[in-house]
Symmetry: D4
Subunit: 169 residues, 8 copies
């Protein structure tokens, strides 16, 4: 991807099944993305380089997924003024509580916007990037309004299905 709008970075390619939820959310809104593997600990220069070069490439937001002692989002945020959105990975003995604390408890000065642990968090990371982009894109903003309406309608549909199943409506 020459000039992606969003850069998705994960600490290990084993995180792809979770982090592709972010990519799907971006695709649904026509937002371009690049997905990269870079580790805060095993390839720190690459990670820092991706972050520090991102703004000049036109990237508008970085999504970082990592597990256990999840330093990736903080390490990226240290190297860029772009919004960094973090997704704590589940798994490991603490099932993501360690990753959540490592991501969300950033000291003052270097914000990291943390989402829920796992797939819901990855999807929301994508949507949150869309919300940021929609601030400067009226068409995308309209699509977000429709997306919200569709979610409400889907709840409605599931409620109708449940009533039908219960034979009670």
């Amino acid at each position: 991807m020459e000039n992606p709008q969003v850069l998705i970075i994960m600490g290990s390619d084993s995180d792809v099944p979770v982090m592709e939820e972010a990519a799907k959310a971006l695709d649904a809104f026509g937002v371009t993305w690049e997905m990269r593997v870079a580790s805060a600990h095993r390839s720190p220069k690459k990670a820092a380089g991706l972050a520090s070069a991102a703004a000049a490439r036109g990237v508008k937001a970085i999504i970082a997924g990592a597990g256990v002692a999840a330093h990736l989002a903080g390490v990226l945020a240290a190297e860029t003024i772009l919004p960094v959105i973090a997704v704590p990975m589940p798994g490991g003995a603490l099932n993501g509580v360690d990753a959540l604390y490592s991501m969300v408890q950033m000291p003052g000065g270097i914000p990291v916007a943390t989402m829920a642990i796992g797939k819901a968090g990855a999807k929301n990371a994508g949507l949150f990037a869309v919300q940021i982009l929609a601030l400067g894109d009226a068409a995308m903003a309209r699509k977000l309004v429709e997306y919200k309406a569709a979610m409400a309608e889907e709840v409605e549909a599931r409620d109708r299905d449940l009533q039908a199943r219960l034979g009670r409506m």
Copy 2:
């Protein structure tokens, strides 16, 4: 504030000493803000109304601070497509772990960008809003770059002070 760029909403005016860190961060970058009290539980219509009206007023991001069963950020996010940034309040018997979980563990579809518990989180919420605004404001982006450089320089200064104190350099 007629047309603030950022709307800071807190569940109780007892949260002001924490949430004013967000306002200070915004002030440092010349970002206009409005600070309001609205409760997800005690004044739900007001909270929803502030959120649903925000985009039309030109607001670009909403910062929500709340404690214990901190539903405020989620309730606001349900009513707007603007980015919602959450600050869990410390205090209460669980000292903010409840607020953190209530804010960060949002289900897929409604993102809430959660910051650290307490003042560091409030400050970062302000800075994160600045980062979002800087995507469309080159001067603000430059200021952020300078802010990052100043932080590094401040660490440098504190290190020099420490060396002096230790009489070891």
Copy 3:
């Protein structure tokens, strides 16, 4: 259900296998119920509407089941003076601790009566609604007394079975 005595609302139809324990408990006492899907975040107006209209429909108690950042019970309680009983869903990376804290740690002014995480909690939510209704229904109160006696007798029976199995009585 035209005029249910109890309204069971859940954030997602995937919660039905847990929440039907509440319905079964109500059925056992002849209490009528309506089970609905409504999300605090994806369909907030619907959720608020169900809650605010409930009292006028003759509903006596609302049971709310939700997971992760489980705001549903609090959002419903904000819109009604009816007793709201909450059931935290298990599942997710934190397996319901997040839902428990999001439900039980309500600020003063808006009570939510929280039950155990999962099926035991859903069953007890139903029974608790029955206990409330029995305050004004002597026949139902008698049934509750019998139910308690039957529970004690079932423990007795299981103890006898165990003694038989152990060949020790």
Copy 4:
């Protein structure tokens, strides 16, 4: 109190400063109450006796406050079909998480309606009892509607105060 509507039982008289929040909430709605000290462990017969005799005395709900291994609410619920509302006390090395888990995680069959840890929970326990009583008392229901409106108005007032303080409205 000859025939209180609500029975407030606490494991130790050191819990009075927390539990009197429940009494105040009941007083605000003209609900009569009796406050007693009875321990699940040190005076089990007294605790059981208070619970088993309550219904015949016309009590409509029992509020139980206890700390650490807080068995009181469960022990009372075992002896009555009245709604039992639990308030976990803060304090001790775990500051109420132990009391919360001991109260809320009741097994199926014996519901205990758990409120937040500490004063907010005690206040809400009182309000929840009022909500139960209001099901059969239209005047009390109207008062609850007014109470909710007054809470919203108080938020409004605090918001206005904040605007005044900020000199920004």
Copy 5:
């Protein structure tokens, strides 16, 4: 069992697979036991009755196994001066942390001797009862000394096996 030395009580017969570890440990030392089902909540009178009658039957220690809001051990301890040994059950959404806190955090005056969550705890509950009985039974004390020596020897044997497997000794 006419006059068991140890009374094993569990809240549900589903706890047998865990609690039989206690019985096995007692059997290994020739200690007689009775295993009963009695619930602190569903059959409180039975539970209290078993505890209060135990001393007169010649019982020397009571072992109580229970899960979630595990009040059983505390409720038994309230009714007897015999040593009560508690085994928190694993399982449920919190996997026994709730049972552990409910058992171990007893207030001053009513001791409950808590063991580890699950099978290791049940086995140790049996061994601890043996240790108590061995205070007045020199033959049993000798058997305990041999048991300890056999444990050390078993570690030795497993170490030798490991060395053999590693082909390194």
Copy 6:
């Protein structure tokens, strides 16, 4: 103390203010005790020696108080067949949860009877030792029965005081 019945060992003399609650409980029943400082880590031979020599000195139970990574009780239990009763110290960054887990989660084979964190636990450790000794001492058993009755009576007295204060009886 030539031949104490109970040996109280603590990892640091800073634990005396907590552990003297155990001594007071023993004194109240005329049980003799010896209180020693010995560390599982700083003086392991002394700790092991105290434990392995205890039985021959006529000691009937060992009470161990320790904080943070509280290995003391387990290390003592490894060296004796006497009942070992553990008291987790509060304090430190985790306020005793670490000590609790380090004491209660013993593997199968080496039981440690764990009490509550802090003073309540220390008092109960003393009482539990009394309960063990009372198995072979009818007079002490009678005193325990009286102690239980006095506790119930004290609750009664506090309840009467509360009624008087409330002016409601």
Copy 7:
């Protein structure tokens, strides 16, 4: 192994599948090791003996793996001045949080260097021992530099693979 450089001790041979990750890491750098089973509780003299004899045998570091109330590392550290590296085992009801706290929260005076829970921790324990040995072994230090470079290159390779899979490079 006559004179191993590293001694790997585990509390149970069931820990081999985790602890062999440490051995593999040592093998990769040509470091000799001995793997032993010794329990802090079931064979305390053996455990202490292995630790106290290690330095004289030329051992340079001890790696200790244990679960639940994991006292092994602390008990070994009490008997040696060699660096002791701890690996908390996953499993049990608390899945290693108990082992982590039991290992890492050592009091001042007796350091234990704690690694992550489970296989990652075991691997890192091996690598950390290599890092210590490399301080006095320039060839090993060079190998560590290469190892780090290879890790970075592997991340690079996985990133390339991901790009190929995504068809986006």
Copy 8:
């Protein structure tokens, strides 16, 4: 300090009161040290530079102290093959549990040797560095043996003091 043996790096100069415990421990053994302020997030290049240059300066171990989302140790470990020893700072809403998890849960490949939260951990970090240096310094090893003996003797002395105070020896 031209060529310190140990490099102590902390994320903020507010950590000095904790981290000077490490320096004191090093001083007690005549180990030279340099104490620096460098932040993983605010001055990442400086932090990385200190770590990557350390080995060439003759540094033998790095001690890193940081709080909340404590990435410093991991970020340093990514840049050096020297042993990195981590000290989680207490404080913040989670009082160091976040720092502990952020430091200890490192993924395989990049070890960080984590000590206890706070001053005990800082002291032990210093001692652990001494233990590493003592592997190649027989005089320092002898001093460590004496240090251990002195600790045991101090426990002995405190025990004697306690006996004197109790008037029981």
